[in-house]
Symmetry: C2
Amino acid sequence: MESPPEPDRAPLLRRQDTRLDSYVDRYAARTHGMTASAIRALFAVANRPEVVSLAGGMPNIADLPLDVVGSTLQDLVLGRGLQAMQYGSGQGEQEIREAICEVMRLEGISAHPDDVTVTVGSQQALDLVTRIFCDPGDVVLCEAPSYVGALGVFRSFQCDVAHVAMDEQGLVPEALREAVLALRAEGRKVKFVYTIPSFHNPAGVTQSLERREAILAVAEETDLLVIEDNPYGLLGFDADPIPAIRSLSDDRVVYLGTFSKTFAPGFRIGWVLAPHAVREKLVLAQESATLCPPTFSQFAITAYLRQHDWQGQIKVFAEMYRERRDAMLAGLAADMPEGVTWTVPAGGFYVWVTLPPGLDSQAMLPRAVTARVAYVPGTAFYADGFGSRHLRLSYCFPTPERIREGTRRLGEVLAHETELMSTFGTQVSAPRRPELPSHNAPGTNQA
Amino acid sequence: MESPPEPDRAPLLRRQDTRLDSYVDRYAARTHGMTASAIRALFAVANRPEVVSLAGGMPNIADLPLDVVGSTLQDLVLGRGLQAMQYGSGQGEQEIREAICEVMRLEGISAHPDDVTVTVGSQQALDLVTRIFCDPGDVVLCEAPSYVGALGVFRSFQCDVAHVAMDEQGLVPEALREAVLALRAEGRKVKFVYTIPSFHNPAGVTQSLERREAILAVAEETDLLVIEDNPYGLLGFDADPIPAIRSLSDDRVVYLGTFSKTFAPGFRIGWVLAPHAVREKLVLAQESATLCPPTFSQFAITAYLRQHDWQGQIKVFAEMYRERRDAMLAGLAADMPEGVTWTVPAGGFYVWVTLPPGLDSQAMLPRAVTARVAYVPGTAFYADGFGSRHLRLSYCFPTPERIREGTRRLGEVLAHETELMSTFGTQVSAPRRPELPSHNAPGTNQA
């Protein structure tokens, strides 16, 4: 073997390597738009044990019955291991597609397993949907704010994102109609509207059934495709799930689901439910992307769903998240200074906070981390630089006690910032970011 | 719940649904190039039990110790389940990246775990590499023939593929130089050469160390990036592995590996080893594509590598494949009519067969399937319609007895075709396909 000697270099030195990228002239145009997301940079900070992270969106899976999962997987390997460890269908295995239809039925969706494509988490669902629909320069309509991971996908396919106003019931139908018509009047191709109807990430709001019907009516009127992303729909705290938009229309909606929040994210299994012709394109895209989604993960989830009271488990999760939501709302009510408002989520993981005019959540973040509390600045959830007066708090992962400690620390940071501002007239060292009046972000329903 | 009633439709009826695609005007330009691959269509046929399939590339994993794997996974869930089932790093877990460096060392590669990006099989490695490097209209150089799944990826990113001649030692360096210079003279952007140096799919040939050095020298001379795809390198039958091209150069080669053939494909874990700056782009692309590759699969493989004699297991696999290769070569020697030639693989899964002039492997396929034997027509491995005189036989999955039955049936089909041709002067019902003289495909070294 004529291999070069093992290089003498420490991992930490490599990470700080700042030499220029000698491959820069070789990349595709799309690659120049790929930048590290705010959430990614934050994960490194938030992992330090002394910091209360209200930043990440990791589900808390500590309540999973590890003994049940462990013996289920052992039985799976012994009984069907050669199938479960082999290549599978590009569309995903028949059995899990049938199980997925059972899951979707809980939100009013009647679907056929033939129309389901299994994906590597619903992130890959976003990737495949964008891949088949979007050329560079196409417009995607997103809520204001929208999921940071979706904005990254749209950017990576060189789409232009146009944000559409939300209110306390989520996406505003009239604003959607206006956006479509205005963009088309400019000659732009609007490919679809991307919406998270239940327990919105990051806004924490939920579309009522009437709102969903009104959004669908605008989509029909303007011949617009709806991408419905629903990772949290079964994690409601108070009532039965509101029927999915997909339950109201078979051919106008492409629906994305995932097991990441109702079971566990590490298996990386999500799905797309799409009209038949679209499904065929998705399967071709999936074969090109991965040959097939992880077979073992699909068998594992199918076996778990069969051998465990998975609906009862989801209720356990929801109750645990409700307690944490309550801790966060109590903490915010106790600790936030005058002028701060926030949304009250009825499920899911997130609260969306609005700061008083003049404060900048991104400029404030280093001071918050110094005070040992982390959040995601609102700008991460906009494609256009808006959002500096907002921030996202997540209550999914820390204990209620840690959440209370986190809001206490955040309250102190905000009180200090507000005091500085009232003394000096503006936030110290904060670059002023645009506050576009066209955005009507939710955040006025203070608890 | 106001969901529509369950539609009254049978799965089989849905599959035969031939209505027009009403979404066709909404797709991206790239989507119109996505078509079902020959291999995909064949899997349906080859799955019929009466057909001897020499078509598929499924590894035979029956020798895996299911008891060991089963108890390893149970222990994993009980001991580290909450980590293994959680979101992980977009780059992949540190522990498996260290293990991957150990695996690559067997082929002479010295690498740092920081420079490894974990992917959803090496198919996704191809997807991510093409995504970061290739704009529509860029040229990718591929061997003639090349891996059908790679050609699909390049097509899906709207690249143009230019094939480069091979001989019995694989890719011909002088042909590579000529192709680069000729394309650049035409003003084309050549992004990289894609090569499978060991036990080529589909050609069955292997580059000697001298050949690898010569290819690398051309790449240096022409400032060309090399994508080295090496799924089969450890599955050699006779000698130690030949050092990878990557072992000869750190910064000129992007290396793709996978556990699909040395352990099991169902976990869908492959990897890219890339220069540091390229690795950073790959991680951003991976985060956009999936957030992170399957965490559970990564923990499972790491645990398997630690708790089992995985190198001994690879030797068991290689010995099993050697027996099957021998069965196929004996069958071909006994059953092929005059004028048929084939390559003699020293490892891997595939034999590349060349038919006498006038025969068309694609036109012949329905008759072969009627005779209960399946193969992949050579045209699947070319982007330009070439390959009709070739076909790929795989010996990886069927038993030696089935392989002998398969070559017997194929021999009868070919004898009948040859007889018809000598009677009527041309193959019955065969459309003549172009046989471009520029392609110098291997296939003259009859055993």
